[in-house]
Subunit: 257 residues, 2 copies
Amino acid sequence: MADFTGRILPLLWRRSIPARKAAGRPPRLSVDLVVATAIRLADASGLDAASMAGIAAELSVATMTLYTYVPSRDDLVDLMVDEVFGDRGLAGAAPVEFRERVRFYADRTFAMYRAHPWLARVSPVRPPIGPGMLAEREYMLATVAALGLPIGRLDAAALTLAGHITAAARLEAENTLISRATGLTTATWWQQRGELWETWFDAAAHPTMTTVWNGGGFEAQEQDPYEYGLCLLLDGIETEAGHAVSRDSWPRTAGDA
Amino acid sequence: MADFTGRILPLLWRRSIPARKAAGRPPRLSVDLVVATAIRLADASGLDAASMAGIAAELSVATMTLYTYVPSRDDLVDLMVDEVFGDRGLAGAAPVEFRERVRFYADRTFAMYRAHPWLARVSPVRPPIGPGMLAEREYMLATVAALGLPIGRLDAAALTLAGHITAAARLEAENTLISRATGLTTATWWQQRGELWETWFDAAAHPTMTTVWNGGGFEAQEQDPYEYGLCLLLDGIETEAGHAVSRDSWPRTAGDA
DNA sequence: TTCATTCTCGTACCCCCTACGGTAATGGTT
DNA sequence: AACCATTACCGTAGGGGGTACGAGAATGAA
């Protein structure tokens, strides 16, 4: 299993490799088992809990044993990410109509980030180029391609939509992570900073905030920024594609992002 | 200077505290000096380089000395963040017209993330409630308030715009960080994964990607998702406010996000 | 039986944050 | 001048982390 010299691709695509020759001492674990265990630990106790030592202990194995299956912790995280990306299930049965496909994507994505909030702690750039990540790209490209957009705009449109949805899901997940780590709800956290307004806040320097505050503008939020923004983006892309547009209401998907 | 029991607020607002009584041994450093040094290290070598040991060494002081000025590393990062937030200069002279104000905000924000890319590694939720962060909120609220939006929608509109711009700036900064850390450009990184297409990619499972690829859709990007999305959001918000809208082109601000 | 092959993992090194408690330096008071 | 409350300084130690190295154990094949 060893002898990976900075080569993560064969690990990401390991399920496409057909056979396996038996030679030498048989392994006690498998890449899949290590990755699954890491995901389970991260889901339960955060990405930090999925340390090499933690995973090894969970598997009743010495820490260094894991390096037989995985080149490094960073690569393991890549494997974890592509695994949950694939589990989102965008490759199977899916809606056909444009908005339904987008909604399906959003629902699955929010569900993924809720089940695996540690994803919000993994860098969104240069993601693992594995089957899970490619399935996502294929799905979103197919979604906007069905609208009849010119080929030069497909990628931008797909990235815009996926980016907006993902950003909202990540924000919600990050919120969950911090609430868990601190044991404080956002409301409690604000209460702890209550003295801000009495002691430190300078109303004269923040006239608009003061006005909004006094008018109750911070409490009665009429719109969710995520839904509002998504609506605008969908309308714009459909218009771009020359379809008739009706700005119907977008069903709720996000919790409190 | 000691005796902060989880009280970060007085540190964030330390410049609002007028006098300082002299008693006991005089300090060699100051909070401002510690924060400035940490920012300098993080700018030059990443957030990890701004470790307590690293900062102390830079100041020719023992590591534990820093804890006289700052309760913990996390609080120090909060201080760093609010410092650069304030340095953005949104509190001073600024444009008056709506779109110019938004552009001003975007320019300053991208400049901030380019000067301090480590910001992208700091959680965007529950930010430090200091003068720098409040100045930003005041600026964006004043910007959308001038449009005449109802008070219940001001916060959502401000958050939508700020969120879109910030997300793009963070993505660009994260890109910079990874390029620095790995010493690889994104192009080189893709080259390393060139074998993906020959060895692992299954064209039959990704028909749309294959079509777009063969049509050159991944190379000739006609639009920047950031600019495109921002345009749509601005149009929508202005429409909401009942203004006349002309979808004029939004000047380039982002680099390659 | 021997051997190449492969997996297992103890040790060691370097990095991080920070609790604790002792020590040094000051201004004010006696 | 001596003393003291106050504040700053920091050495030590303990608990995390990732992983390079190399010796030992288990297997199938020759």
